[in-house]
């Protein structure tokens, strides 16, 4: 049973992360082209840091760091009269009330908290990639379009929302679809974050079962479980590719790009 719900976990992660990351990406890209210098620096630094650090290192590091940061903040507010150091040598000690999640909370709270941390981490990392793509897409919209908007007396905000944003998607889509496929392929990393995902269950269920411990004794089936996962991911990425290709064809229609010109010439 756990094996099947874990597929739902992966799909849920994708369903939550993709829009969140896109939002982060949009915010990051808009920040990076802001006129106000500190906001611009913030956007650029966000993109640069996450892209520069090797991938899974960021994953392993960020979850613990985020967890500790949250507990530290709760500790500061909830237990102001705590005098001991938080970092005692090798240990990270906060007062009982600041523990996240609470020690006595039920199992599902622990699981949800872990999952939320994972989603947030994925969103931050992929948000940086997405903002890089969107930033490039915003630069790619022909300059003349913005100039025309300005000539019509639109403010900066108006020309951003009415001219730039609707037109940038066709430039962003190839990068974003690449990112989506990469996101699908990075979901097994959930396993590293301690979530009971499909990798965890394939490892558990496929392992040797002895008649003494289990109702269904069998040998080592992990190979077949992982083969099934392999096929699952292959089918998933292939289906996404096909759908995204169709979407690209639709978006290209009538655009001032070589692709759009080709479609017009072909009389589609």
């Amino acid at each position: 049973m756990g094996f099947y719900t874990s597929f739902a976990t992966v799909l849920l992660l994708l369903a939550i992360t993709a829009p969140t990351a896109l939002m982060f990406g949009f915010a990051g890209a808009s920040a990076a082209r802001s006129q106000f210098a500190p906001v611009r620096w913030f956007g650029k630094i966000y993109i640069a840091i996450v892209r520069g650090v090797p991938d899974i290192v960021f994953f392993l590091f960020f979850v613990i760091a985020l967890d500790q940061a949250l507990e530290w903040m709760r500790h500061k507010t909830l237990c102001p009269d705590w005098t001991e150091n938080i970092r005692q040598g090798a240990d990270f000690v906060v007062c009982q009330a600041a523990k996240l999640p609470q020690g006595d909370s039920p199992q599902w709270v622990h699981k949800t908290y872990g999952f939320a941390l994972a989603v947030f981490t994925f969103a931050i990392v992929f948000g940086a990639f997405a903002s890089n793509v969107l930033f490039g897409a915003m630069q790619a919209v022909p300059r003349a379009q913005i100039e025309t908007a300005e000539a019509y007396g639109m403010t900066r905000r108006q020309s951003f929302w009415r001219i730039l944003v609707p037109q940038m998607w066709v430039y962003a889509l190839p990068g974003l679809s690449n990112l989506w496929i990469v996101l699908i392929k990075s979901t097994p990393l959930l396993f590293l974050l301690g979530i009971e995902d499909i990798v965890y269950w394939a490892n558990e269920l496929g392992g040797s079962k002895l008649a003494r411990f289990s109702a269904y004794p069998h040998g080592d089936w992990r190979m077949w479980y992982f083969l099934a996962l392999l096929v699952f991911y292959l089918a998933f990425t292939k289906a996404s590719e096909v759908i995204l290709d169709r979407l690209m064809k639709k978006l290209t229609y009538g655009q001032a790009t070589t692709g759009g010109a080709q479609q017009l010439a072909a009389g589609q």
Binding site: I56, N132, V182, K185, F191, L227, L230, Y233, L234, K238
Partner: protein, 268 residues
């Protein structure tokens, strides 16, 4: 104990030379830097060998994909699809259990369950698939005029490939291939986090970094150290590959050819 003693004890720990037991308490900064650095030996080993072997494999795959004959094209297409469409993490798991069950029947497969060979094979296939599509793209973008000129000079077959197609393909594909090489080095960190066991605690850099993070509950020291090592490695790779890039483009005015631009942004 001075830092030099630590380096002497643990500098080559990852390949089994030096003290057997890892430090258990009172971790010094020096110990962490030394052990994580010695773990980098494995990352470099996996990266360099699979890059070298994978390069030739990738060229043959790219030529296979480019071929007119279906019995060359189809297998190459499928190989690339399978290794690019599924996550490297799952591939490593699957390969490990595949070799494990083969080992039961044929003792020939004994060394394949060890990381140094089994994971190496997976990494070779993986990088070959990704690089094959890079080189295939480069083959497709060779200017038509170059080939026509070669035909006009009466070059054909092997000579035309060696003198015209091969250098142009390398030249066009090289910037993308550089990024692929960097991802490959980053991907080596996954090896010991999948099923492949670290025999006698001889692991790669991430293995030791997470060892320290587990023992000290403090991710803020080992992971930045690891990040630093990886950035150093990345810079070395970039230096080496741009030297080759300059050599490949030595007949072209410096401002015309494609400079290598760093794009550190993809997971496997």
């Amino acid at each position: 104990m001075s830092c030099w003693d630590t380096v002497a004890d643990y500098g080559l720990r990852a390949i089994g030379i030096g003290l057997r037991g890892l430090p258990k308490t009172d971790f010094t900064l020096c110990q962490q830097v030394t052990l994580i650095g010695s773990g980098m030996i494995w990352n470099v080993y996996f990266g360099v060998i699979s890059l070298f072997v994978g390069f030739f494999f990738a060229i043959s795959l790219a030529l296979g994909k480019f071929s007119d004959r279906w019995w060359l094209r189809l297998p190459a297409d499928w190989f690339v699809f399978i290794f690019r469409g599924s996550p490297l993490f799952i591939q490593l798991f699957f390969a490990y259990f595949l070799f494990l069950s083969l080992k039961k029947h044929y003792s020939f497969f004994d060394p394949f369950t060890a990381a140094w060979l089994g994971a190496l094979i997976v990494l070779v296939c993986n990088t070959a698939a990704y690089s094959a599509s890079i080189f295939h793209g480069a083959l497709l973008s060779i200017p038509k005029g170059d080939i026509e000129a070669a035909d006009a000079y009466g070059l054909s077959g092997w000579t035309r490939f060696r003198k015209i197609i091969w250098p142009t393909m390398l030249r066009l594909g090289w910037p993308a291939y550089t990024n692929e090489a960097i991802f490959l080095f980053h991907a080596t960190a996954l090896v010991f986090f999948s099923a492949f066991p670290a025999w006698q605690q001889r692991g790669d850099a991430l293995y030791y970094a997470s060892y320290f993070a587990d023992k000290t509950f403090n991710p803020f020291v080992p992971y930045p150290i690891l990040g630093g090592f990886f950035i150093l490695l990345t810079l070395l790779v970039i230096g080496f590959f741009s030297a080759i890039n300059r050599r490949l483009n030595r007949h072209i005015p410096a401002e015309d050819y494609q400079k290598i631009r760093l794009r550190l942004n993809m997971f496997r």
